[in-house]
């Protein structure tokens, strides 16, 4: 072993012995550092996953999605979708596009309801299912376990399923060539893909060939540039082709689409944009985008929390190490006298903190592995720590190693410089108390670091409070309709079932706990469709795209939506189904007519007539968004949901009875139901997750901060033992002594609060601005959060302070 090896071995040995000799000190540091690192590991895994979306494709840098922006009368809507003609144009008009494909958006494409599949005489369930054209796998190179990418979606009635579905349907037998029936179409399995390592915004369990649709339907698709039926993806031959593509899309809109718009006599326009594939996951600005998309700020926020936690743990180390410097001063003096250079001592202290960081990392790794299932449960993902170590990109591993090194460096560097600066003359003479000499001015820095810790702690506590208040507000604020005890049965697309709808309704109504039943294509909390409406003058009408609810006569009464003008749909007017519109107040205001009840309207779904009623606004989507204009028409062709209003004390029994009735009519599909308020609450899943995570993390932050405070107050009291002893002998009361100890620390927490409050106020205001409907910030929450932090800090210091109070002053003085 060379000289440096010897030294390092010496330091490591010493670090271990010191830990054993002073277990409480080592424990504070190890608990802090390993908790910090554990959270860091978990959050890193999460961040790596989020940033990894759609980087799994071989040519991901060349793949783009074509998004359409529609502008009617100045109302601009940005969609993630595009029309059939657009993908056809991509395929044929642009030589730089190597491949282009379209994947449809269907009612079962975003796992809202699930769909029933028949294999021979057995019923199975698919979570999500949609269609794509034959070139899909040319753009997205999913790994095929069975079948091949070239031919999988070529023939009509072909279907590609994932390995999980294949296993569920066919067990261990090959799936290729097997038949399965969805609604009335029988598909042949032409491929099985493995999605396990694929992290993409494309969510489907099964993908059928687009040409399964009859030619007449496809013909209809080609007639309309405005009909946004799915998502278009293009793969360029070269990365650089994308740079000039915007101009070409403008050219397409101007030369091809605009003349068509003129021809169909509509006052509107389409703009096309190409969006890099890797941007999609963090883009929340487009309508009808993937439900897996997330907010980048939300992801980054957790990155900050992870760094904060590490910082707080690192501060503990720094503070305790410098506070204990008195105890180590003698060792430093001896080493210097024995010939150590300052750099060697700096290396020694850095070495110690590195050793500790490394041990903490090993503990953290085990803790992270143990807590990963809970963390996954909390954030609704299926993460694995191996992503950090075995990812294709080395970046996560590099960041991790850097973090551990940095943690060791950051924690050790300051103590190393302070401690190694001690002069042996000052520390080796007996009777000299180095605490009184100038070199321990690190005390000021220690105070600053404690303040920093509590700024973060107080900030986290208050943020948790605000997030919980906003969440409660969204869950409890009047929605403008009644969602309690409304059971929602998912109505399969089955014409014979639809034909029986009145019989089903009546039978369900016979259950005594059932108050009302309503059939509709939309419900609050579910995605609504959007449609083009021609409004006003029949010769040159205005064109508007407005959200559409297809409902029945009972809908408004069941949900207790208030009528404010005109009338609702009524059975006394048999023509309502083809001539009547009801709108919400937002729509009436948006259309801007002085008397909305005289406005003529026409929509593509065969309804042409007048607005007959205006209902009050209600929150049909989450409170993130303002209440948008909404038009209601009557159900005529199909339904998606059967809403059943209950008044029951025994829900499960009532639900079972309704289920029995349902299954008498429908044995071909799974009986799917949910409750409207659960469904509505699901829209706040992100906030709910954020709240849980915030709660846990602020708990950890405050725990680690207090651990540091505990250690620091112990040392501070130890340092002042003599002073306290003298004061006691001179007659200081316990209250005086207590005040003496508490004052210093509580002042620091107070200062932290004063700095933290305005910062958190600003950040929380910014966060709340993301909600169209939000709580007002209440100063009491801020004071409350601050008070909680004060209280916890107070309790922590008190544990140590009471020890000092109980001590006999004679012992303290003898000690000198």
């Amino acid at each position: 072993m060379n000289k440096y090896g010897e030294l390092i071995a010496n330091y490591v040995r010493l670090a271990f012995r010191r830990m054993i000799r002073q277990p409480s000190y080592a424990l504070i540091n190890l608990v802090g550092l390993s908790t910090g690192l554990m959270v860091f590991l978990l959050i890193m895994t999460y961040i790596v996953r989020e940033y990894d979306y759609d980087r799994c494709w071989k040519d991901y840098e060349k793949i783009y999605r074509i998004n359409a922006t529609l502008d009617f009368n100045g109302r601009v809507d940005h969609f993630a979708m595009s029309s059939y003609n657009i993908v056809q144009s991509m395929k044929h008009d642009f030589p730089e596009v190597e491949a282009a494909t379209m994947i449809l958006r269907t009612s079962s494409s975003d796992d809202q309801t699930g769909i029933t599949v028949w294999i021979d005489d057995l019923m199975y369930e698919l979570r999500s299912f949609t269609y794509a054209d034959a070139d899909f796998f040319k753009v997205f190179d999913f790994p095929f376990v069975e079948g091949n990418a070239e031919n999988a979606l070529k023939e009509p009635k072909s279907i590609v399923i994932n390995t999980v579905t294949a296993h569920q349907f066919f067990g261990d037998k090959p799936a290729l060539g097997k038949m399965l029936r969805i609604n009335k179409t029988t598909f042949v399995v032409t491929g099985v893909i493995d999605r396990s390592e694929i992290h993409t915004h494309l969510q489907f369990d099964a993908l059928a060939s687009l040409n399964t649709y009859p030619a007449s339907t496809i013909e209809q698709f080609t007639n309309d540039w405005f009909w946004l039926i799915g998502y278009t993806y293009v793969k360029f031959g070269n990365k650089t082709d994308a740079e000039h593509f915007a101009a070409k899309l403008d050219w397409l809109a101007k030369e091809t689409i605009q003349p068509w718009i003129k021809q169909v006599n509509v006052d509107g326009s389409i703009h096309l944009h190409h969006e890099p594939l890797t941007h999609i996951h963090f883009n929340n600005k487009l309508q009808y985008d993937s439900s897996s998309n997330t907010n980048k700020n939300f992801v980054n926020l957790f990155g900050f929390i992870a760094v904060f936690l590490l910082l707080i743990a690192s501060i503990n180390y720094m503070n305790l190490a410098t506070a204990r410097s008195m105890k180590r001063a003698r060792e430093i003096g001896i080493r210097k006298v024995a010939g150590a250079h300052r750099t060697q001592l700096i290396m020694q202290f850095l070495g110690e903190s590195m050793v500790l960081s490394l041990i903490a990392f090993l503990i953290a790794l085990s803790l992270a592995e143990l807590s990963l299932p809970y963390f996954n449960n909390l954030i609704g993902l299926n993460l694995s720590l191996s992503a950090l170590f075995f990812s294709e990109s080395l970046l996560p591993l590099i960041i991790l190693i850097m973090a551990i090194l940095l943690l060791g460096m950051l924690s050790g560097l300051f103590p190393a410089f302070v401690l190694s600066s001690f002069s042996p003359i000052q520390v080796l003479r007996p009777g000299i108390n180095p605490g009184n000499t100038h070199m321990f001015s690190s005390g000021n820095l220690r105070k600053i670091l404690v303040v920093l810790q509590f700024i973060i702690s107080i900030g986290m506590i208050i943020s948790t409070l605000v997030v919980s208040k906003q969440l409660k507000f969204m869950q409890n604020a009047p929605k403008g309709f009644q969602s309690e005890q409304v059971m929602v049965i998912h109505f399969p697309h089955d014409s014979s079932l639809f034909a029986n709808k009145e019989v089903i309704r009546h039978q369900i109504l016979e259950v005594p706990e059932v108050q009302q039943v309503s059939l509709s294509q939309s419900l609050p909390g579910y995605k609504s469709g959007r449609l083009m409406f021609f409004v006003g003058d029949t010769v040159k009408p205005e064109v508007h795209t407005i959200n559409l609810y297809v409902v029945d006569h009972e809908f408004f009464d069941l949900l207790k939506i208030k009528l404010i003008e005109g009338r609702l749909f009524s059975k006394e007017y048999p023509n309502d189904a083809s001539t009547a519109f009801v709108v919400n107040k937002a729509a009436a205001d948006y259309l801007g007519y002085p008397n909305p009840l005289e406005v003529e309207m026409n929509c593509g779904m065969g309804v042409q007539g007048k607005i007959v009623g205006v209902v009050d606004n209600f929150h049909y989507s989450s409170m993130h968004q303002p209440i948008e204009p909404l038009v209601f028409i009557l159900v005529n062709k199909r339904a998606d949901y059967l809403a059943v209003k209950l008044n029951s004390r025994n829900m499960s029994e009532t639900v079972a009875r309704i289920g029995d009735i349902w299954q008498k009519f429908d044995s071909k599909h799974f009986f799917h139901y949910t409750f409207l308020d659960d469904r509505f609450a699901q829209q706040y899943r992100h906030e709910q997750q954020m709240l849980s995570l915030f709660g846990y993390f602020s708990l950890l932050v405050i725990l680690i901060s207090c651990l540091g405070l505990y250690g620091l107050s112990a040392f501070s009291i130890e340092q002042r033992t003599r002073e306290i002893g003298i004061r006691k002998v001179l007659g200081a009361s316990p209250r005086h002594t207590l005040m003496l100890i508490l004052r210093g620390f509580m002042t620091l927490v107070l200062i932290a609060g004063l700095i933290s409050l305005p910062v958190v106020y600003y950040l929380m205001t910014e966060w709340l601005n993301g909600f169209a409907f939000r709580v007002g910030l209440n100063p009491l929450w801020f004071l409350g959060g601050f008070f909680i932090a004060m209280l916890i800090a107070f309790a922590t210091i008190m544990i140590q302070a009471t020890k000092a109070l109980k001590a006999n002053p004679v012992d303290a003085l003898k000690y000198e």
Partner: protein
């Protein structure tokens, strides 16, 4: 070996200026055993720190092994120190977390001596100090006398030409104190120069020469034994 020329050390705080040493001059030859005596606060320890290259004088010249070192940097002093000077303190100053063996070994590690040579040398010194049986113990498991023997072992392990002892028996009872003084005497007989600060007249008896300090100045320098 050592030549001090008008060594002066002034300590300054915000308001007070204290002259710890005031133009002190003397010479110490190789192989001498010199005791420095004087009341508390007379500047003994300040002088010892300067002689031991732990501190620089404010003014004056200090020649150590014919090198003028009064203006040396900390690094230069550390290098000279670790090769030539061993220290013995009143309160032993052993590192509690290191074993007896490791404490004695420390100067050799900083000298960069290979491990095998180190082990041999440490074993030799521990045997010489009659403390080999305690090699694996930690300082707190030893008596004061034993601790000071370890400290002496550490001071001599690198075979320094000079040993500086700062009240080496101050924390010991008379029997243990005598043991340590005998050790120092043996070292001196074998050629090591020793400078010792002490309050004890008995300990001073072991030296050949006593330098008496008062208020930072030498008031008396008497040679007690013939030094040949």
């Amino acid at each position: 070996m050592i030549k001090a020329e008008k060594l002066t050390k002034i300590f300054r705080t915000d308001e007070v200026e204290t002259t710890a040493l005031n133009a002190v001059s003397f010479e110490i030859k190789r192989g001498e055993f010199v005791a420095i005596m004087g009341p508390s606060g007379c500047g003994k320890s300040t002088l010892l720190n300067i002689l031991g290259l732990l501190d620089n004088p404010t003014t004056g010249g200090y020649y150590f092994l014919d090198n003028e070192v009064s203006k040396s940097t900390e690094r230069q002093r550390a290098n000279l120190r670790k090769q030539n000077i061993g220290f013995v303190f009143q309160n032993f100053n052993l590192i509690d977390e290191l074993t007896v063996f490791e404490n004695v070994e420390l100067p050799l590690i900083y000298l960069g001596m290979p491990s095998r040579d180190r082990k041999k040398r440490v074993d030799e010194v521990l045997a010489q100090m009659q403390i080999s049986h305690r090699a694996k113990h930690f300082p707190l498991q030893l008596s004061g006398g034993q601790q000071q023997r370890v400290a002496v072992a550490r001071a001599v392990v690198a075979k320094p030409a000079l040993i500086l002892a700062d009240e080496p028996t101050g924390n010991l009872d008379s029997a243990h104190g005598e043991e340590v003084m005998n050790l120092l005497n043996d070292l001196n007989v074998n050629g090591t120069t020793i400078i010792m600060v002490t309050h004890s007249q008995r300990d001073a008896e072991y030296s050949q020469r006593v330098i008496r300090l008062f208020d930072g100045q030498i008031i008396n320098e008497n040679i007690k034994k013939s030094f040949v």
